[in-house]
Every structure is written in structure tokens, then in C-alpha cells.
Amino acid sequence: MNSAVLRNIRLYFMQAWFSYRALYAWNTPFTYFVSKFGFSFFAMLLFVFMGKYVGLGNPVYIVIGNILLIPSMNSMSGVSLAVADEKRFGALSYLIGSPAGRAPVFLGRALFPVLDGFITAAVALPVALLIFQLDLSKTNLWLLLGCVLLISFTTSGVGFILGSISLVNRDGWMITSSIAVGLYILVGVNFPVAVLPPFLRVISYGLPMTRGILAARMALAGASWAAVSQLVFGEIIVGLIYAAAGYALFRLIERRCLISGALDNL
């Protein structure tokens, strides 16, 4: 019993480490850095100037929102790619043919993109706050860091779903990218969710990140645990639902491919 548990834990971390190395193996530190910050940073600048043009005096809301989106993007895209690349590199057949437990193999793909996203945001946030000279005296730092870590974890569920879709769809990366771009509207990055039309608000609260980003903003402004706990629990529940859905979808696709033996032809 104990050895089975230990074997699964070892498998989880091995899978996590190897899938992460495979994801970034071809990157130099330069390309790694650019892929982490490039699009996010320049999109933030674009939105800041768009806000300035329409008359929004203070860009801090946009800056913080875009930085809080970095771990989400990282986690979602990283996990999605880590799953989808199994097929792209021809490793999926071996993975599915192996007797290894599916849960550690599948869930292990999230660990390092999540940590990577968390560290990226944890580095970017203080730098941006220094540049924009935001008052941090009231910030609930540990709660803020907790919220950033939480956002990274909960968005990995979306990554699992998108990665699984990529296994059966050759344009899976297009779907991932489209959803990633849509987050600029949906999760309260550039403006509060409250200003969205009602039907978009429903979608927004059905996504992970929305509550987490709101909780992080509140922690930044000095809110206590009691004030954000409801948002945090809501974020955890939504994230778990997405992760469970992603896992179920992966198992469904796996079963389908075992029956048809045609996964690599899809």
C-alpha cells in the first residue's frame, strides 16, 4: 500500500519535471524570458495607452490586472501545451500504452507551469508596483501571494481541458490562444467584471481567475482573510471543477483511442 503511494508520488514529480523540461528544452534563457513576458508586457502597455486615450487617469488597475493574468496565461498555456505536445512529438502512444497511473501522469503536467507562473507574477508585481509607485503599506502580502498561487493552480484546470481538446483537434493551439486572448475581456483584467454586459458576466463568473484576481486586488488594497475568503473558496471550487472536467475528458479520449487505435491519426 505504502509503496504504491510512494510510487505514484515519485511518478507525479518525475512526470512534472520531465514534461516541464520538454516544454522549455529548446529555449535559451532569452527566448524563455521573452515567451514569459513578451506578449503580456506589450499587451499591458497597449491597454494602458488605450485607457489613457479614452481618459482613464490611473493605469494601475490595468497594470495590476495584466500582471495577475501572467500566471493564468502561463499555467493555462503551459499545461495545454504539455498535454498536446505528447501527441505532437509522437509520445502519446507510449504514454497511453504504459501501465503508469493516469492521475499522476496527467496531473503532474501542471506542477511546474503553475510554479513557474507564480514566480513570474511574484517577480513582475513588485517591479510594476515600484514603477507606478503604488502604496503597499496596507497590502496583505501573504494573502496576495496566496491568491497569485491559487490563480496559477485553478487555471491549470482550463489548461487540462484545452490540452485534451488538442489531442483530438489539430487546431487545438488556436482554441487555447483564442481563449487566452478572450481573458482580457472576461476576468476583470482591464476593467471590473461589473461593467460587462450581463451575459458576459455569467461567463466571467463561470471561469477560474475571475474571483482569484478580484481577491488578489482586494489583498493588495489591504483586505483581510475574512473579506476575501468567500472569493477564495469560490475560486477553489471552480478550479477543481475544471481540473476534474479536464481529467475526465483526458480519460474519455484515452478510452476512445484504445478502442479505435487511431489517436495518432486524428
Binding site: 515567451s35 513578451g38 497597449l46 488605450m50 485607457g51 479614452v54 482613464l56 487546431d171 482591464n190 461593467v195
Partner: protein
């Protein structure tokens, strides 16, 4: 000779447009991403208390952004795909110069990008009741032509530049949104800090965009439009000349060293 050239153009464009049509990423670049940026612009305008957004920048600017994103991605990833699929050696080894192949491809990509602008313009007219009454249409069309020419020149410059390197995908991150920020696709250039305005002056699209904005606002002052057109055209030619120089370098290097595959 001329007939052969036009046959090459037609065949290249046919292949290129088919690739664009069947690649679903095109939908993201030409339609979804501009739609998202335009929507953010509109919601920000409303949040700032503006009842109606500036349609030229918020909606039509989104279309120009779609054109640009499509061009940058195709100019960079086409080369990366050729390299990955082992086509680049065949193209470089064929009697048709690489520069000509890239020029035709980029031309097809710029034309395909017009779909994004057309969609944005239709959205502005049909949904937001944007009116061209009062606009200086001939000047706007000339400005648009200069935008297309500027994009084509930058596109072939990038395509030639990236034959040298495997960093095509990374270059997208350095070119797509930074140029959108610097050229003011979604806002007038006066919003930028002065030092950024100075950088944007070396990009031909920024001058042509200023002329387009001026023309759509009804501007008819040639003393203002003329220099903007002249600078847009002149700087585009500089990019074109640079791409010719690069093409020679690229060809010399890969043929002498035979190292195209190891770059």
C-alpha cells in the same frame, strides 16, 4: 519572361491564400484578436464616461491591428514552417530567388489581411453607424495604400531577416505588439511619451496611419498630409532596400557555408 513572372505570382498567391484560408489560426489573428482589443477599447471608453467610442481608433484601428498581426505571424512562421518541413533548402536552391518568393508571399499575406480591415470597417458602419460623410476619401485611400506598402516592406524585411535565425516565433513577440503600441493602431500617437513617439517615427506605418486618421477626419491640408505620405513612402523604401541587402547576405551565406539547416 513577364508571363512567367505573373504565372509565378498567381501560383504563389494561390498557395499562400489557401494556406491562410485553411489555417484556423487566421481566424484568431484576423478576427478574434482585433475584436477583443476593440471590445476592451470600447468598454474602457464607457468606463471613462464616454458615451460613444472613437470609431476610427477603437474599431477601424482594431482591423489594422488584425492586418498587422496576420502579416507578422505569416512572415515569421512561414519561414519557420518551411525550415521545419525541409522546404527552405529547396526554395533557396531553386532558380527563383528567395527574395521574389518572399515578396509574393508577403504581398498575398498583406492582401489577405485586408479582410480584417474590411470586417472592422463594416462593423463600424453597420453596427456603430460610422459615417464617411466629410471624410477625404481619396486621401484616405492613398493613406491606406501606403499602410499596405509599409506593411509589405516590413514583412519582406522580417522574412529575409528570419531566414538567418530559428528565433522566428520569438521575434513575433518583439514585433507584433511593440509595433502596434508604437504606431498607435488603437490611439493617436500624442498619447505616447515623447521618447516613444521618436521611436515610432522610424516606422512607416505610423506616418501612414496619421495620414489616414487625418483624412478620415476630413483633413484636406496637403501641407500636413504630404509630408506624412512622403515619410511613409520613403521609410518603406528604406525597409525594402534593407531587405534586398539582407537577401544578398542570406543567399551568399547559406550557399557558401551550406549551413542553412544548422542555423
Amino acid at each position: 519572361m513577364i508571363g512567367r513572372f505573373f504565372r509565378l505570382v498567381v501560383r504563389q498567391m494561390n498557395v499562400q491564400l489557401q494556406i491562410r484560408i485553411f489555417n484556423q489560426y487566421t481566424i484568431l489573428l484576423f478576427f478574434l484578436q482585433p475584436l477583443v482589443f476593440s471590445t476592451v477599447g470600447m468598454i474602457l471608453a464607457r468606463a471613462a464616461g464616454n458615451q460613444t467610442p472613437d470609431l476610427v481608433y477603437t474599431v477601424i484601428g482594431g482591423g489594422i491591428m488584425g492586418m498587422w498581426s496576420g502579416l507578422v505571424f505569416t512572415s515569421t512562421y512561414d519561414i519557420a514552417r518551411d525550415r521545419r518541413d525541409g522546404m527552405l533548402e529547396l526554395i533557396v536552391g531553386s532558380p527563383t530567388p528567395l527574395a521574389r518568393v518572399e515578396a509574393i508571399r508577403t504581398f498575398a499575406n498583406v492582401l489577405a489581411g485586408l479582410v480584417s480591415l474590411a470586417a472592422a470597417f463594416l462593423a463600424a458602419v453597420l453596427i456603430f453607424k460610422y459615417s464617411l460623410a466629410g471624410a477625404n476619401i481619396p486621401a484616405a485611400l492613398l493613406s491606406l495604400l501606403l499602410i499596405l506598402f509599409g506593411m509589405w516592406c516590413i514583412g519582406i524585411f522580417l522574412a529575409n531577416f528570419l531566414v538567418w535565425s530559428r528565433l522566428g516565433g520569438t521575434m513575433v513577440e518583439f514585433v507584433e505588439l511593440p509595433v502596434a503600441v508604437l504606431c498607435g493602431f488603437m490611439y493617436p500617437l500624442r498619447v505616447l511619451p515623447v521618447w516613444m513617439q521618436a521611436i515610432s517615427a522610424v516606422l512607416p506605418i505610423s506616418w501612414a496611419l496619421q495620414a489616414l486618421d487625418e483624412s478620415l477626419s476630413g483633413g484636406r491640408d496637403l501641407a500636413l498630409l504630404g509630408p506624412q505620405w512622403g515619410l511613409a513612402f520613403g521609410i518603406s523604401l528604406v525597409f525594402w532596400a534593407l531587405s534586398l541587402w539582407l537577401d544578398g547576405k542570406v543567399h551568399d551565406r547559406v550557399r557558401i557555408t551550406g549551413e542553412l539547416n544548422s542555423i
